[in-house]
C-alpha cells in the first residue's frame, strides 16, 4: 500500500546523486588521481566538510525532528576522533620505535618496544607509562568498535538519566553543554591518559602506508567521508520517513499528547539521542585523520553551539537543510577566517574579517531565526509547493471552527 521508499523521499536520490557527482569531480580535479587543479589541502577541507555535514544530519535528527536542542553533540564527534586517533598514533609510534631500535645490537623485547612507545607518546605530559585506556590501541578493529560504543554508551547513560527525570527544553540544553564542558575539562588534564591539551597528533599518517602520498590518502578519506555521508543521509531519511518519524515529530510538537497515545516518549528520545551520537562519532572518526590533530578544545561547548547555528541557518526539520547549512557556513567560515577575504577599509577603521566574521555569523543567525525560520532549505519550498498551513483572515462563519477567508479562496 505504500509507495517505495525512494518515491516517498525523492530528496534521497537527488542528494546521493549530487554527492557522487561532487566526489567524482573532486577526484578528477585532484592532484592524486586527476589534473591537479584542486590542492591536497583543499581536498582535505572538502573531506572534512563532508564529515561536518554528517554531524549536521545527526543534529537535525535530534533537534529538527525530535526537538531536543542538544548542545553537546561535538562531545561525541570528538570522542569518535579520539578513539580512532589512539590507534593511528599508537601504531605509527610503534613503527618509529621499532625502526629506531632495529639498529641496536640485540633485537628489542616486547617490553622495550612498549616502553619506547610510552616515552614517545606520553613524554610530553611527563609520563612514560601507557595508561590502561590504551589497552586496545594496537588493534584497529577494537578501536573502530570503540568509536561506536564509547560515544554510544555515554549518550545512552546521559540520555537515560536526563530523559527519565523529564528534563526538557532549555534545561536539557544546559545539561548537554555541561556534559561536553565536563568532558573537555577532563581531557585537558595531563593525567586523563589522552595527552591533556596536547591532544593526539600526526593522525594524517596512516600506519604502514608511509609510501602513499598525502594527496592519495586525502582522496581516500574524501571517498570514505562521502560514502558515510550518503549512508547517513539514507539512514536518517529512513528513520524519519516512516511511522517512527511521525512519532518523533509528534514528540517535538506535543510530547504529552504522544504519551497519551501510549508511546513511551523517553525511550524514543533515548533511541534518537543515542543513534545521533553514534552518527556524530563516526563523522568525528573520519574528520580527525583528515585534520591531523585532535585536542580537547575541539570538544569545547562553543563547537556544539556552532553546530546548532549551522542547522538553523540551513533549515532544521529537513535533512538537506542541515547539510546545506553545515557545508555553506563552514566553508564560508574557512574562507573568512583563512585570511582570504579582502579587508574593507572604512577610512577610520578597517574591517578585518578574521575578527569580524563571528559578528557576521551571529548576525545572520539572528536574522535567519527572526525572518526566515525555514533557513536556506526553505528556498526549496518556493518550487516544490510545500505549503505550511496558513489560517489567516477572519472567520467566515459564526463559529471558531468555520472556514476562514483565505482557506475559502483556495
Amino acid at each position: 500500500m505504500q509507495r517505495s521508499f525512494f518515491m516517498r523521499n525523492p530528496s534521497v536520490l537527488i542528494f546521493i546523486g549530487l554527492l557522487a557527482l561532487f566526489t567524482l569531480l573532486v577526484t578528477v580535479f585532484s592532484e592524486a588521481f586527476g589534473v591537479g587543479v584542486i590542492s591536497t589541502s583543499l581536498v582535505k577541507t572538502l573531506g572534512k566538510t563532508l564529515c561536518l555535514c554528517l554531524i549536521a544530519i545527526a543534529m537535525d535528527l535530534v533537534w529538527g525532528y525530535c526537538g531536543i536542542l542538544s548542545l553537546g553533540h561535538f562531545a561525541f564527534f570528538g570522542l569518535g576522533g579520539y578513539m580512532i586517533g589512539m590507534w593511528l598514533m599508537y601504531e605509527r609510534t610503534k613503527a618509529i620505535v621499532v625502526s629506531s631500535l632495529a639498529e641496536a645490537p640485540l633485537p628489542p623485547t616486547a617490553d622495550e618496544i612498549r616502553d619506547g612507545i610510552g616515552t614517545q607518546i606520553f613524554g610530553v605530559v611527563g609520563g612514560a607509562e601507557i595508561p590502561p585506556i590504551w589497552f586496545f590501541a594496537d588493534s584497529l578493529f577494537a578501536q573502530l568498535v570503540l568509536v561506536v560504543t564509547i560515544p554510544g554508551l555515554l549518550a545512552l547513560i546521559f540520555g537515560w538519566l536526563a530523559f527519565r527525570s523529564r528534563v526538557t527544553g532549555v534545561y536539557l540544553s544546559i545539561l548537554t553543554q555541561a556534559m561536553t564542558l565536563a568532558l573537555a575539562l577532563y581531557l585537558f588534564q595531563n593525567d586523563s591518559g589522552l595527552r591533556g591539551n596536547n591532544g593526539l597528533s600526526g593522525l594524517q599518517n596512516l600506519p604502514g602506508l608511509d609510501d602513499v602520498p598525502q594527496a592519495t590518502i586525502s582522496i581516500w578519506f574524501l571517498w570514505a567521508s562521502a560514502f558515510a555521508l550518503g549512508l547517513g543521509y539514507l539512514v536518517a531519511a529512513w528513520v524519519v520517513g516512516g511511522k517512527f518519524g511521525s512519532v518523533v515529530r509528534g514528540i517535538r510538537d506535543d510530547e504529552a499528547r504522544v504519551r497519551f497515545l501510549g508511546y513511551h516518549v523517553e525511550s524514543y528520545k533515548l533511541v534518537v539521542f543515542t543513534l545521533t551520537a553514534i552518527i556524530a562519532a563516526i563523522a568525528g572518526a573520519l574528520y580527525y585523520p583528515q585534520a591531523g590533530i585532535i585536542n580537547p578544545a575541539e570538544i569545547a561547548p562553543i563547537a556544539s553551539i556552532y553546530l546548532a547555528v549551522w542547522v538553523a541557518i540551513g533549515g532544521r526539520g529537513r535533512l538537506y537543510g542541515a547539510v546545506i547549512g553545515a557545508a555553506f557556513v563552514s566553508l564560508v567560515s574557512t574562507w573568512f577566517t583563512g585570511g582570504q577575504a579582502p579587508d574593507i577599509p572604512l577610512g577610520f577603521y578597517t574591517i578585518q574579517w578574521v575578527d569580524w566574521w563571528l559578528v557576521l555569523l551571529g548576525l545572520s543567525f539572528v536574522l535567519v531565526t527572526l525572518l526566515a525560520p525555514q533557513g536556506i532549505g526553505g528556498l526549496f519550498d518556493l518550487f516544490t509547493n510545500r505549503k505550511t498551513p496558513e489560517r489567516g483572515g477572519a472567520d467566515l462563519g459564526p463559529d471558531a471552527g468555520s472556514l476562514q477567508e483565505k482557506e475559502a479562496e483556495q
Binding site: M1, Q2, V239, G242, K243, F244, S246, V247, R249, G250, D253, D254, A256, R257, R259, F260, L261, G262, Y263, H264, V265, S267, Y268, V271, T388, P389, R391, G397, P398, D399, A400, G401, S402, L403, E407
Partner: protein, 246 residues
C-alpha cells in the same frame, strides 16, 4: 455489568489547595457518564489522575478485570492498557497529514524498534479509511491536520482516540467551539462508542449533556456532590446552590 474503573478515596493537594477531596467514582465497561461541575471542581484533575499525569496523595485507582493498580503505571502504560483521553483544546499533530495522525494513533505495537520496522499494511490503511469515513474526514486524509477547520480537528482527535481502541474514553468538553450540526454528529459518535466501551464526558454545556442521555456525576470542590439522571441531579437543592450561587 462489570466495573471497568474504580476510583476510591483519592485526594490531591496542590500547594495547600485541595483539588480533589476523598473522591470515589466507578464506571462499567460499556457505559456513558457525564461529569459536570463548576470551574475548579476538580474535573480536569480527576482526568489527570486517571491518565497518570498527576499522582494522588492518597486513594486507589483500580482498572479492569484483573484489578490492576493504575497509580503504579506511567502515562504511556495506562494509555496502552486502554485509557484514551481527549483534551479540551484539539491537540492533533498539525504538521502531519490526517493519515499520519491516524496511523500513529492506530492500535499497534508501540515500542521504538517495532515502530521503526513498521510498514503500512493494507489492513491498517483499511482501518484508517473506515475510521475517517466515520468522522467525516475521508477526503481530507492527505491534507495536513493544521489546515483543517476547528471542528474537523476535534473530530480528528476523536478519530485518533477511537483508533487507539480504548476501553475507556475520557473526553474533555468535546462540544466546545462546534456548530449545532457538528455537536449533533459528535453526540452520535460518542453514543455509538459507549455501546462497546466506557465513555466519560466532562462538559459545561447542560444542553449537550441532556442529549447524551446518560447518568450524570456532579463534582464540587473535589468530591462527588450528586449522582443520577440529569433530571434527578438538577432537582437536587445542593446542586442548584452550587451552580446558581448561594
Amino acid at each position: 455489568m462489570s466495573t471497568l474503573l474504580e476510583v476510591s478515596g483519592i485526594s490531591v493537594t496542590f500547594d495547600g489547595f485541595r483539588a480533589i477531596n476523598n473522591l470515589s467514582f466507578q464506571i462499567g465497561s460499556a457505559e456513558m457518564r457525564a461529569i459536570i461541575g463548576p470551574n475548579g471542581a476538580g474535573k480536569t484533575t480527576f482526568m489527570d489522575i486517571v491518565t497518570g499525569k498527576t499522582r494522588p496523595d492518597e486513594g486507589r485507582v483500580i482498572w479492569g478485570e484483573k484489578s490492576v493498580n493504575l497509580l503504579k503505571m506511567s502515562e504511556s502504560q495506562i494509555a496502552r492498557a486502554g485509557v484514551g483521553r481527549k483534551f479540551q483544546r484539539p491537540t492533533v499533530f498539525e504538521d502531519q497529514t490526517v493519515l499520519e495522525n491516524l496511523i500513529m494513533a492506530l492500535k499497534n505495537r508501540r515500542r521504538p524498534f517495532s515502530v521503526l520496522g513498521y510498514r503500512r499494511s493494507a489492513e491498517d490503511v483499511g482501518r484508517v479509511e473506515v475510521l475517517a469515513e466515520e468522522i467525516g474526514l475521508k477526503a481530507e486524509l492527505p491534507r495536513k491536520a493544521g489546515e483543517l477547520a476547528h471542528g474537523q480537528k476535534q473530530w480528528l482527535e476523536i478519530g485518533m482516540l477511537l483508533a487507539q481502541e480504548p476501553r475507556l474514553l475520557l473526553v474533555d468538553e468535546p462540544a466546545a467551539g462546534m456548530s449545532p450540526m457538528e455537536r449533533e454528529q459528535t453526540t452520535a459518535i460518542l453514543v455509538e462508542a459507549a455501546k462497546t466501551r466506557a465513555v466519560v464526558v466532562v462538559e459545561h454545556d447542560m444542553e449537550f449533556v441532556r442529549r447524551l442521555n446518560c447518568k450524570v456525576t456532579v463534582l464540587h470542590e473535589g468530591s462527588v456532590l450528586a449522582e443520577g439522571s440529569l433530571d434527578h441531579v438538577t432537582a437536587n437543592q445542593e446542586v442548584i446552590d452550587v451552580y446558581l450561587g448561594r
